[in-house]
Symmetry: T
Subunit: 155 residues, 12 copies
């Protein structure tokens, strides 16, 4: 099969494709790290933070599907394999072993702030080449910023 015929020009496709692939790596790694914390958590606020982290997982998994399917819809192949995520992720990793609830809340706040920074750059970058993709990224950013506030409010 030939490549999916894109509604975008090549230049627009390059910028938009990069934004989406970057978003995909961010969101997959966010989902893996939120699960890692969900499992290895300890502390007095265990139950609340344990469940709160699954909201982040749900958001990150939903976002993954949206950005990856948007990528292929415009003719770019998303790459969400473990090796790709491990090599390209810009997120500060969690340590192995038990994770104290306060530290998890602080770490997730930081991780979300970093990801939000990159998403805001992607929103700016896609404004010209593809408003449909930009609209999708705005929607995910709104949700990331809401979770960022909620985690930060607990610190």
């Amino acid at each position: 099969m030939a490549a999916i015929k894109s509604p975008l020009t090549d230049a627009a496709l390059k910028v938009t494709g990069d934004a989406l692939q970057g978003a995909l790596v961010d969101l997959i790694d966010l989902s893996l790290l939120a699960k890692q914390a969900h499992w290895n958590l300890t502390g007095r606020n265990f139950k609340v933070v344990h469940e709160h982290l699954d909201e982040v997982v749900t958001l990150a998994r939903g976002g993954q599907d949206d950005v990856a399917e948007r990528a292929v819809a415009i003719g770019v192949n998303p790459d969400g394999r473990a090796r790709t995520v491990a090599d390209r992720t810009a997120i500060q990793q969690l340590e192995a072993g038990y994770l104290d609830d306060d530290k998890v809340v602080a770490a997730v706040t930081d991780i979300l702030a970093q990801i939000i920074g990159r998403f805001r750059e992607r929103i700016a970058a896609t404004d010209e080449p593809d408003q449909v993709t930009q609209d999708l990224l705005i929607g995910i950013t709104a949700e990331l910023e809401k979770q960022h506030w909620m985690f930060q409010a607990q610190t």
Copy 2:
């Protein structure tokens, strides 16, 4: 916080913990690869295989949570970070770019067969040290073997 107090002896814990960590890596990578194929798929059977792969994702994600929470419940820290998965996975990886539906069906059949082989070893290994863990692994294996049959039947 001290480690979670385990109901198992140290020897039993070692065997069971290894089985669960191995299962975790298998299931996380299975979910990532099934999504990779879900997104990059092409071919006449696109719609059916696209949706069928999401059944595998659901199964793999549900299994991840079960094995990881079982691990921590017996006092072993599960590790599901991207780097860990990328380095330790024994699953044959998919190539980047478009994936033909027939090849995806064949590849998923093979991947499931490999994982099933390792799960059957884990069932045998946990029979003595922890029947509760074994029962969990048996349940996941039954589902993996059902999916294996369904993918193989299409080849």
Copy 3:
């Protein structure tokens, strides 16, 4: 297409396949007989027994699918055709025509007891060759024994 590649050895496959095929015939005939009684029932307890029999039908139909799909998942072809069921069933058949509620309760109690006996033999037989199949048979047996108690309690 070649046969489904089984995760079991040939010897294990033979024992497990026989257990599953036997279970399939038992469960199909159980569903047909429970429906036969559901329709031709009479007596003061008609409404209760009429509805109770449909619980047995639901259990038997769910079990059919599970054992047949397990069979094919390990590479054995299940056979649930009318002729096969009629020729191989070991269940004592009901007579044609109206069936008195007391007699139905007694007959179903007996039929369930016979089937339970055969399922317990199948549990023992599959312990070595395939614990995944054994776990499935244990689950169905638990439900059959629960219904057996409920019918027997009415006699």
Copy 4:
């Protein structure tokens, strides 16, 4: 208990009862054969046909209950036992073992066509003696003809 008192004359009862008993055998055997194909299916369209066959099973099981309960409601004992179905069915049986998807689609198309032919005769036969039964048979025939079209469209 005496027989259920029928709202029909004896002559009407005979014709109507025969139509319903015939429909019952057709529908039970249809459900058994559709399940047989559901389990032993292979081929590139496995997933779609596998699920499509369960729509036929649902239709056939719902129809069984309706015709059998209609029979007893007018004072005729329905007979849906395995031996009765095996001996009286007019449906061409499937072979044992794996069944190729194309052949299954063709076979189900034929089986439905045969059953529809008999249902149309039953509709004609019951027009005079019992319009209530006729209305039930018309409803089932509409569903059978819809499935027949869907299977035939795939050939």
Copy 5:
């Protein structure tokens, strides 16, 4: 407002309107009597018969709405007032006070048989003038005959 403009001729309207008004009185009184028995019931089978009677109420209330709305849809005013029902009902009334379960089952069986007799006459009467109404009456009759069988089976 002028009368609703009917799609039927005057002659057809007369026959159809009478059939529907008669059915309305039957169904309202059936719902009142089933409730009367539902409340005043006693006996070993209290719980089952108490709930079974509410199935009759549901059937009778659903049928009332259907026949009354059909009447007005063809331009005939349905009359379901208490006085009309009390004066025109042909159903044998229940006595005041406690009602034994066996007697209730017998009485409801008889009442349903009488109503079914009248509905079958209405089906015959509307065959020519309005098949749409006839189809509605056939559907209600099928449900009445199913309940009649179920009550009779308990006697």
Copy 6:
């Protein structure tokens, strides 16, 4: 069977039983009249009033069951037969034939006001003999007064 043993004294029973029987007649006739208007309604507000009347029917039918079951629970036989309702109802009856929406709204407002007056007397009467019954009557009155306001607001 002997009469249901009442938790009330004979005097309390008499007052409470009368209140409940009166409420039953009011509520059954309310449901019949609301349906009569529901069916024979005409006018520009047909759709809204047609559906609004069914809210009254639902309220009246729910109330019937509650008061009748309360009556028998304290040892009094409720009587909800057509003849009893027709003879004892104190509600002003609707005329046969088409009913103009404005007139229906006015009539239902009046009917509800009358019934509310009688329910308030029953609340006062049961205060001493049975607070459980009183609480039930208060609950129904609250709903009747809410509907009364809604109908009156439209006039």
Copy 7:
């Protein structure tokens, strides 16, 4: 693919196919006109009529699918393209621009009356050739006549 093999004779097929194709055009155009009025409506009863029109849309769309799938099930190709509907519709069209609620109610009443007239002819025409199709048309006619009454009652 060869044409779908029909259970009807050629003559029966012609009559039945024409009835179904005519019904399809009526129902598609009804759905388009009801939406046109739904959007351009004004007047004091806007909210009620706006929502009432969507009930007609739902009925018309459900009916379209039923008649078109019935057509193809008996071997006749339904034609529901815009050009076909525009050229063959017998329904009096609505004007462009705002539509007053009273006029919409009157227009829909007329439109439904016309369609009902044609459906009654189709019921008569299919009585002999195909009772299964006739039963479908009777069911749709009942719903159309119910909506006709409801709209007419508001005029």
Copy 8:
């Protein structure tokens, strides 16, 4: 009634209104053509494509309502009558009669590509005059492009 008072200037209204009316015609004709293919489809992938087309119908019908109600909300009368759609549609029409599944997939891919092109022009056109309308069009375009990818992936 006077025209709905618009929050937009006349110039902005003209551009926005044209974009919405154009979108309406595209979406109505898309829904009609998708249904035409849904009904007349044949081929080995019948079941999958048959159901996939209904996803397009759902998308197109939801979009119709959104754009038409947006039009009237800003004071422009949408026109969705059969004649308007037939005369103004720019979509390449399907032929009458049976439609092969491969050709349908190719045709729908093309039709979606054309519609997407026009929607992208409408997004550009409404950027200045009305961002609320633009946001609505962006949302629908995202869904159209997702379906376009899915159909193209099957070719």
Copy 9:
């Protein structure tokens, strides 16, 4: 933590607290005994009584939570521990072993009558000190009296 600050005077608190603690013991023991009978039941009416007893369990468990939370809401510590219930319950206990259905119905009728007697005393006692508590007790009593009637009606 200091005790919950109560909205009641000390005297009112004492009376209300005693009423609630007494109700708690009654309801916990009722739930345990109903379950005991649910499990050890035998007899022809097994199925109906078995399920009926679970309605009592549901009622008793719901009531426990309401009275215990009401107690703590007014500043009184509820005590629902096994030893407390065993020592303070005034309910006649069931014997160990199989329980005949007729005897169970009679015993539950008696147990409910006793509990109702005590609840009526608590309603009287709380009338002055706390109408909010009284209202809660009235609600539970209504449900207990409804179940009492239903069990008594079967004797």
Copy 10:
């Protein structure tokens, strides 16, 4: 329109109307303050208190509707405008800006205690004039006291 005709005397109406209007102001302001805290909350228990406050909002909004509709049902106009609430509220207001979770829990405990005090006065005041209103106020008080306990238990 004339005022809604009240079922109460003028004196009773005055007392009851005042009680309801007072309750309305309390409940609207409670909902506004709970939302204010829901949004501006910070602290380690952010997530739990954030969600707990929404339970209070739900309770307060449900209560508003009930008391306002009760007021108009008895002929008194409820006033829930912002100015009225701001001027008449007796609740201690929260400060602007971030609110620490511990302080919020303490403040909500106090606010609920004050409101409960006023509701208990309203229960006493309406005992004579209108038991239907009193019953409504008792129900809301029970819920307020339950929430009061839950907040106080956290302090």
Copy 11:
């Protein structure tokens, strides 16, 4: 706790924060006024307008939460207290007492038009500083304009 760290610059924060706070006051007052009208409404269209107003309440309450949580997510404290709303609202207030349905429809149409005007200014103002907030405001404006059309269409 320090203030929530904002992803925006101070200048952008000021503009965006003002837009969100203004929107919050508009939406809270809209919900209070819509409820005021919902309760005090009279007139022939009472039922429809009564329910329509609750759609506005739902929209306004949902919007409140979204804008307030967006404000705090970017580091601005929303203020939704009664005094703030009463002092800052720019909405023309409703009078106390009964409100005629026609006047309510006209008043709500005007109120919505005013609020829409202010929301369109906020959309313009936030275009540069924060597209995420702008997207949220666009979404709410679309809903407000839809309700505005619906109310205006009734005038």
Copy 12:
């Protein structure tokens, strides 16, 4: 009625019956103690622990029914009366009065650890005599160990 006929030998029955009766006492007392803590809890984590305890109640109540019905299904009478539980429970009891959240978490962790110890002994004991019962105990143990981890993680 004679005792339920058991599928087990007498020796197997004795061991299995003892295991099930012991499990029943553990689970009933666990449910009572979890409710005791649920009601009398205080402390900053009140809301979370209050709700977490109800998960334990749900688990314990579900387990009770399963083990008791398993007991009677194999012919052993379960005994779950208050006296039996109070006398035979091996669980360390909670004190009366308010319970601090930290102490509750610690106590529940200990209680679960004790129960888990006994369940593991029961799993070992039933391995030979009845694998069906063993499978049930394994399932409950898995859930108990999951809850144990979650409570321990909070300490």
